[in-house]
Symmetry: C2
């Protein structure tokens, strides 16, 4: 197929609009696209047709909420932004001199795009530290498709365990099916392990005839000596105790040596051990998407050791003020907060900042406004640091719930998540426990 070059449409060109191309419709890219004024002819590219509210993705894995409650069609969010066009497309590479992106559209055709300003905000993918063969046995929680496959694997293992117990299979077989290992004790791993424990202990009580869902063995494996790296020690301990109360075996200072179809090999304070497990989930590491490397190569910069791209106070690449890098893949050292973490609030604030910058509403460098951090442990239990105040337990949970509902896009989504959570947290019912994917 010929490679067509897309330019801003005629009306935009006549009005002298500058061409802004945004790659990635995550928190940074979507916020920017929605806030840029009509002086800019904006193109928003994403490989998917939806924006994902990733902080709640782990709840899809346990069937507590549906994909439609955390995914929202990008196109629908830009309805009242006639200066923004949304295209489902993949970006292959960049021509820094000609200011051109080469892309593949939905449907397969290749096309090119010219830009005056380029914004790259493609986020992270999972990282197995050189063991990509582990991915098939230990899926990670970065995409909706991954979350749905994890749901199928978790619920499918419980179905298989009940069938195995019913026909009197050897107890090792049932125990392997009833074993879950979550690798990584950051917020994602903690929230996932807690939610799996809640699912089996609360939601599934009384639903099995041959096995007790309380017997589901959940291991949370973390290489550091504490959970929730970066949280205050008191909150780390609260999270540890909370998970243990839910029946999660937390293994600190423990590394994963191997992952295969049968389970994992761990190396911890007590030496090496083998754990047979039908369900292994990966929440241990992320790295920038491949496109970050292509950006570095095209614009002649060296990525940081973790693959992120260093940006200046304008969130632009050194020597390329027309190229902004936002969100998780940006390595920005904030004057007050140091190097910023890859979390949604940073990405949103960076998107809003670049909108102000391009509309000449600011000249000051980017400054992160840190509201804090939080992680939920279980029903009515969370830890949070809000503006320096440390909360744990019910109050932290309430703050967590309100903050997440406030950040969801669309009032209908807020309502539906509230209905789902009402059922989940009050009645212990999980709404979306469907196995729709291959395991």
């Amino acid at each position: 197929m010929p490679s067509d070059t897309l330019t801003p449409d005629a009306a935009a060109r006549e009005s002298g609009a500058s061409s802004v191309v945004i790659v990635g419709a995550g928190f940074a890219g979507l916020t920017l696209a929605r806030q840029l004024s009509r002086r800019h002819a904006v193109t928003l590219l994403d490989r998917r047709n939806y924006h994902l509210f990733q902080p709640l993705l782990y709840q899809v894995v346990v069937g507590a909420i549906s994909p439609g409650e955390i995914g929202v069609a990008v196109r629908g969010q830009l309805r009242h932004r006639p200066n923004v066009r949304s295209l489902e497309a993949e970006v292959f590479d960049f021509d820094a001199v000609g200011r051109i992106l080469n892309c593949g559209a939905a449907g397969g055709a290749a096309f090119s795009l010219t830009y005056d300003t380029l914004v790259v905000a493609t986020g992270m993918q999972d990282h197995y530290f050189g063991h990509d063969d582990w991915a098939v046995h230990a899926p990670a929680l970065k995409t909706l498709g991954g979350g749905l496959r994890m749901r199928a694997r978790l619920l499918g293992a419980l179905e298989a365990a009940e069938a195995a117990a019913a026909r009197g299979a050897p107890s090792e077989e049932v125990e392997r099916l009833m074993s879950v290992v979550v690798v990584g004790g950051g917020p994602t791993g903690v929230e996932l392990a807690g939610a799996i424990a809640e699912l089996s202990r609360t939601a599934m009580a009384g639903e099995f005839r041959y096995l007790d869902p309380d017997d589901l063995r959940i291991e949370l494996v973390e290489g550091e000596p504490a959970l929730l790296n970066g949280f205050a020690p008191r909150l780390q301990k609260h999270a540890l105790r909370g998970l243990e109360r839910l029946g999660v075996n937390v293994r600190l200072g423990t590394m994963v040596r191997a992952v295969d179809a049968d389970g994992v090999t761990l190396a911890g304070p007590d030496g090496e051990m083998r754990r047979a497990a039908a369900v292994v989930f990966w929440a241990a590491g992320v790295r920038p998407t491949e496109l970050a490397g292509a950006v570095a190569a095209a614009y002649g910069i060296t990525p940081e050791r973790d693959g992120r791209l260093a940006v200046d106070g304008r969130l632009a690449l050194a020597g390329h003020p027309e190229v902004h890098v936002l969100g998780d893949i940006a390595a920005y050292v904030d004057p007050r907060h140091g190097r910023l973490p890859g979390v949604a609030p940073v990405a949103k604030q960076q998107g809003a900042f670049v909108a102000r910058l391009l509309d000449d509403r600011t000249r000051a460098p980017f400054r992160y406004r840190d509201w804090g951090r939080m992680a939920v442990i279980g029903r009515f239990d969370a830890v949070a640091e809000i503006l320096g105040i440390r909360l744990s337990g019910r109050l932290a949970w309430l703050v967590w719930a309100l903050a997440h509902i406030a950040y969801l896009v669309g009032f209908d989504r807020k309502l539906r998540v509230m209905v789902s959570w009402g059922w989940r947290f009050v009645l212990g019912r999980y709404a979306a426990r469907l196995i729709t994917e291959a395991r």
Copy 2:
């Protein structure tokens, strides 16, 4: 693997409970399992872990509702039924003499099951009338996975069309991407075509920069001379006019000659014609699942011409009073209503009837209580025949909406569907327009 034989558990055997095995957790099977008294040790088998509210499946295709709103975990529905065990399993064949089923469990192991009473209620699968090669080009609406793939194909075609129009692709290419053909003018085809028209005309208005979603060309193809076979002629005409008002091209008396990757070949009153279309949906025919053939072979009966199995007033097979066949795959001639159609109310009533029968609460033959039939056309427009009263337009729509919400399982599901519909019908917003599957 060895084939283990599953028997009712020891407690059930001691109490003298009879073993009832139900195959299929659709409307018939789930209703029966939930209503049987504790005198029976019940095993409910299904290939999937969820019960699907199939009448609303077409709304998943247009992204109006989420899978979790119409799918419900079977296990959760049987929480308070300790005499019922639910197993995710596939049934391979039957031994009529030994009263044994041979099955494959989730996880792959083979096992056998003995029964005193067998109930087969496995429903229908799609039927391409000898053209199974059409299935890949024209997916059908029988499973949740199928519905999600259809959603990906429909929304993906619109994304591809926008990208093609943006890069100035030839108009034939854009037109093919903007063409939808729905094959089959029964309730499913009518509802699907109407919902696609609503999606493009209402929900997507203002969301595209290079194409007008109003230009989406929707053909509804029906071999008979009228839509909604079996409805009163006045309602058939109302449906036809309603769809045409929404911009659907209804082609009556038209047969499909070929389906391939590029579109369809139709033969109608005006001769043969070719229609290039990126999206072709199949709603033209169903046939009993393979298992109906296995039942016929094992119990020595000849299926009807359409593959259904004839049952007597007890909904049992001739010569095999211990084998009941329910729902869509049963061919039952009701004294008042003649041969019953394959619809959810028939299946539910048959499930409830067999529960009464096995609990000795009735000896009279099954009689269908026909409340009527309905089909929705678009926003605030439907046709319905309720107890002989013919309704069309807003009142029929209201009856349709209330009836479907009433039939949904679980109050939380009712609430979430009401929220989704509120947004959809009042504000014209579709909540779940996500492309999560391969196209």
